[in-house]
Amino acid sequence: MADTGNSAAIAEAFADGPAYVPYLVVGDPDYESSKAYVEALDRGGADVIELGLPFSEPIAEGSTIQEALVRSLDAGMTPDRFFAFAAELDVEAPLVCMTYYNLIYQYGDSEARSASNASGEAASTGPRPFVERAAAAGIEGLVVPDLPAEEADPLREACDEFGLDLVFIVAPTTRADRLDRLMDRVSGYVYVQARLGTTGARDDVSDQTTESLDRLREYDVPKAVGFGISTGDHAERIVAGGADGIIVGSALVDTVAEGVAEDLSTDEVADRLEALSRELKDGAVRGHRSRTDTVESA
């Protein structure tokens, strides 16, 4: 698979210049506000948008995003509403769904499932119905943080069938043999985890990021760095360090949480998200320019 993805739009997003890839939890804090927020990201310059579909046991998230997932679930988010949301969105950037494997695996004909269970056989719908439905809703890629490459073949097949990309995360601790296994299966872009730990906004730029990018240099899939990016400055340095894009989650989710805590209007929060997006995007662009400059001046 490697560099050639299924989604032309995603490939294009990384094609020229750095990609700004923001993440929000769909339905946080409610369906309608959330739609306004995602659209604000788009206006703010998003190249790809990651939409979080909340799962009840989000083992890979920091507490910021975990709280957002709870808000969304409490407000009634389900996979079907998520797909409706995606379909209704008025945005230019291609959409990637980020969720946990159980929701993907379970999706489908629930009656068939419970029938098979009653008959004593295990249900085995598998990931295909979810991917089919996602494609229909306009989703062009998936990130599944609890699905390692070793368990990914059924999902990979379904993605290929319906033209979705399947994004994998590479961690600072990922060893060489696993890297090959991952890179064999990835498409669209690779999500480079900037540091150990789970998601959450931090202030410094980690050495681990640089090392990871170095190790990934030989693979020519786009490399989007995430985990802890919160300012334009960060974005700039990370892209300057070689990233093809930046993924920003907690900093944006924090903005939504602030809106909840301070009881801000949807417009006010949307404006802040748009402004932050611009800052991040601009930072990424500056970082890219400085790299090109360096390359040119070299």
Binding site: S63, I104, A122, T173, G197
Partner: protein, 434 residues
């Protein structure tokens, strides 16, 4: 296997217990098992798998010898297999009790906690973390960590902390740090997420001690192997006492570690029926709308899915969201179950049975008053099963007494108060708690 392995094969765990091969190679039990974890943890999981194979399976550096010696000296193994005279009479069958309640700490949990903390030491880790719900696994881990001089942090939901203060105090006494988890509903699932979070940031020097045969490979096989000492002993003891194998082995099942521990060495004995007794809670009906299953019967009523790193049977709604489970015993209150048990149930080798809160409470009072053993409420489910199903059992039944009930006195009062428990003593002086 390992390069430094200089022992004869006879000494290794593999050679000693060929019946425990299931899942060892690839972490798969048929369709169940696997390693569904964030990429950041995969290296730790791989390192652990390697350590498991070397130290546990191949006894490298004499790990298993030290483990067994510490289990004996510190933990109090072997635990007895006791004939329960009055239950035997009541059910007109020989009932034997495997007394894990006598293990240091009061439950089988230490078998695993001690094994993992020791393994972390062999791996050169410098810190232990664990999650805990009711506090049983947390207290066992804190004890093992104190014993082996390892700094230890236990994550526990804030709500659980308030409900289980004696256990929190015990962990602190043992020198562990107890970190309250305030996200979400402040219970076990948030504590698991928080522990994962810590581990994801600290994998290099930290080992995460999972408390049951759940989670990604190698946890299910490793925890089983540590707990299998239960059936290893019980099998020998019952044969020595009676000259033959039991007809039935009964154990309660939450995550399923005491269960697999009690079953492991009997799985290959096809004549022995294995009964996994789950918490039937108040009812087996689920409330899809509220996302609540008022029980924890994931083997009996759950569906296949992926939770906390493994594919297994779960209590989930039709979307795949995990249900809030419930049981009168907090230690059985978990929406998943070990993948090996899920597999053995599908294979027809293990029979899942649900016993509801009422029957468990009666079991609690029955064992207390007739045998002089106050069982954990978890364990009490196994005795609820015995009462309801004894006519289906053979003539020699081994029941695993997974833990003692000292931790449950308050809960027993509250729950007994709420219903008509036929065989409860007069507890009027305790209404409102101890």
């Amino acid at each position: 296997m390992s390069e430094t392995d200089t022992r004869t094969t006879e000494e290794t765990e593999r050679a000693r217990r060929p019946g425990r091969e299931r899942g060892r190679d690839d972490g798969k039990f048929g369709r169940y098992g696997g390693q569904y974890v964030p990429e950041a943890l995969m290296p730790a999981i791989e390192e652990l798998t390697d350590a498991y194979e070397r130290y546990v399976l191949d006894n490298e550096d004499g790990f298993m010898d030290e483990f067994r010696e510490r289990l004996a000296e510190f933990g109090g193994r072997p635990t007895p297999l006791q004939r329960a005279d009055r239950l035997s009479e009541r059910y007109d069958t020989e009932v034997f009790l495997k007394r894990e309640d006598l293990l240091h700490g009061g439950a089988h949990k230490l078998n695993n906690a001690l094994g993992q903390v020791l393994l972390a030491k062999y791996m050169g880790k410098e810190r232990i973390i664990a999650e805990t719900g009711a506090g049983q696994h947390g207290t066992a881990t804190a004890m093992a960590a104190a014993h082996l001089d390892m700094p230890c942090t236990i994550y526990m939901g804030e709500r659980d902390i308030n409900r289980q203060r004696p256990n929190v105090f015990r962990m602190k006494l043992n020198g562990s740090e107890v970190k309250p988890v305030t996200t979400g509903r402040g219970t076990l699932k948030e504590a698991i997420s928080e522990t994962m979070r810590d581990w994801a940031a600290t994998v290099e020097d930290t080992h995460y001690v999972i408390g049951s045969i759940v989670g990604p490979h190698p946890f299910p096989v490793m925890v089983r192997d540590f707990q299998a000492v239960i059936s290893e002993e019980a099998r020998g003891q019952v044969v020595e006492k009676t000259g033959g194998l039991p007809t039935d082995v009964v154990a309660c099942a939450g995550g399923g570690s005491n269960t697999m521990g009690a079953f492991a060495d009997f799985v290959d004995d096809e004549s022995v029926a294995l009964h996994a007794v789950e918490a039937g809670g108040s009812t087996l009906e689920v409330d899809e709308e509220a996302g609540v299953a008022p029980n924890s019967a994931s083997l009996y009523a759950g569906e296949e899915g992926v939770l906390h790193g493994a594919r297994t049977k779960l209590l989930q709604d039709s979307d795949g969201q995990i249900m809030e489970s419930h049981s009168v015993s907090s230690g059985l209150d978990y929406a998943g179950v070990g993948p090996e048990l899920a597999y053995l149930v599908d294979e027809g080798r293990v029979r899942p049975v649900a016993v509801d809160d009422d029957a468990a409470l009666e079991g609690f009072h029955r064992l207390s008053s007739t045998e002089g053993i106050i069982p954990a409420l978890e364990t009490a489910h196994a005795f609820g099963f015995l009462e309801d199903h004894h006519e289906e059992l053979g003539e020699r039944v081994v029941v695993n007494v997974s833990g003692r009930g000292d931790k449950d006195l308050d809960a027993a009062i509250e729950e007994t108060d709420q219903r008509d428990v036929a065989n409860a003593p007069d507890m009027s002086m305790f209404t409102g708690g101890i």
